[in-house]
Amino acid sequence: MRVFVRLLSTLLGLVVAAAGGLLALEVGWHWWRPADAPLLLPWPAWRDRLSELTWDRSPVPLIAAIVAVAGLALIVATLSARRRTVRMTDPATGVSVTTSPRSLARLVGHRVRAEDNVNGASVTATAKKVRVRATSRLETENQLRPRLRESVGELLSEVPLARRPKVSVVVDSPKDRR
């Protein structure tokens, strides 16, 4: 997503430059030689068309909707393209450390799968929250969950994270369904 926003940003920069350049050029040319206008763009035709077209006639609402949706898409793209790295404590002045959420999830996943009676686990992590979803055939949720929570908490206290994420554990066990 960040590459996409960078690409969009490049294109928009070019569009703004082109629009500004054409505006200055056309107005200046029209001022200097009114008889030879237009220079590059057929703006007198656009002007005539726009002075006939009223706001409620057909292409206007459609174009307005397209512009609004495109703006919304840009906003969504930029908002979702934020950095999701997990900060760790600075070990010395002038040194900053981060890790990726994926790394953190991998670390937690290894620990959870190494616990007894865990058949499988999926972990998602952000800087604020670590979600663990484990499956177990032998223990119920109430038996396994405190143990997993404690184990993950212990692991997270060993990793020097800048802020300690909350841990949520869900256990999926067939024994609970009986």
Binding site: T54, D56, I63, G71, I75, L79, T85, V95, L104
Partner: protein, 199 residues
């Protein structure tokens, strides 16, 4: 709060591109919504029935022809310059500054970014528990910094690795460059050894 050099070095700067794209999105959304509101007739049916290029506006512009032309040209030139700056800024690759150790004329001493990143990388990879390391110089000439990305093997002790990196790798880099402080951003990928495949 201004970011420290090492915090800035964590990732390629990106705020301006993202912020400007967001602003353009906001403008487009606002313009589209306003035009839609006018078209639907929420500002009155008279407004909705008027031409898009309103004769009143055209007349006003005609009465103030010279100032409006000047304003249009100035705005156009400013937009052009701004757009070119924005375009070049989005396209430029991230800096790899050389580190100048001595700037006195006649005895300048510069360490190229390739040399320093190669040395630090080789040092970091020799640390126990580090599967792979990448180092590069980032920032600008006035505030150079080092970005070090470490891939740690599964089960390696983060603290031990960290002490080793700080005590040997970075200390050696600082020593050989003859600086007291070398702003450094470290990105750590945990548990990224070779994947075990099921055969």
């Amino acid at each position: 709060m201004s970011k420290s050099v090492s915090t800035k070095a964590l990732a390629r700067s990106y705020g301006a591109e993202r912020g400007l794209t967001f602003v353009i999105g906001l403008i487009a959304l606002a313009a589209g919504v306003v035009a839609l509101v006018v078209a639907v007739g929420w500002l009155g049916d008279v407004r909705a029935g008027r031409p898009v290029l309103d004769p009143l506006a055209v007349e006003w512009l005609g009465n103030h022809a010279v100032p409006s032309k000047i304003v249009a040209i100035v705005v156009g030139v400013l937009l052009f310059v701004f757009g070119i700056w924005w375009f070049l800024r989005s396209l430029r690759p991230e800096n790899r500054p050389d580190i100048e150790l001595d700037r006195e004329i006649g005895r300048g001493l510069t360490v190229t970014s390739g040399a320093i990143s190669g040395a630090v990388q080789a040092d970091a990879e020799s640390v126990d528990g580090v599967a792979k390391a990448r180092a590069r110089a980032v920032g600008d000439k006035e505030n150079p910094a080092l970005r070090l990305t470490l891939w740690l093997r599964e089960g390696s002790d983060l603290k031990a690795v960290w002490e080793e990196i700080d005590a040997h790798v970075l200390a050696r880099a600082r020593e050989s460059l003859g600086v007291d402080v070398l702003p450094t951003a470290v990105r750590i990928e945990l548990d990224s050894g070779e994947r075990q495949r099921v055969r």
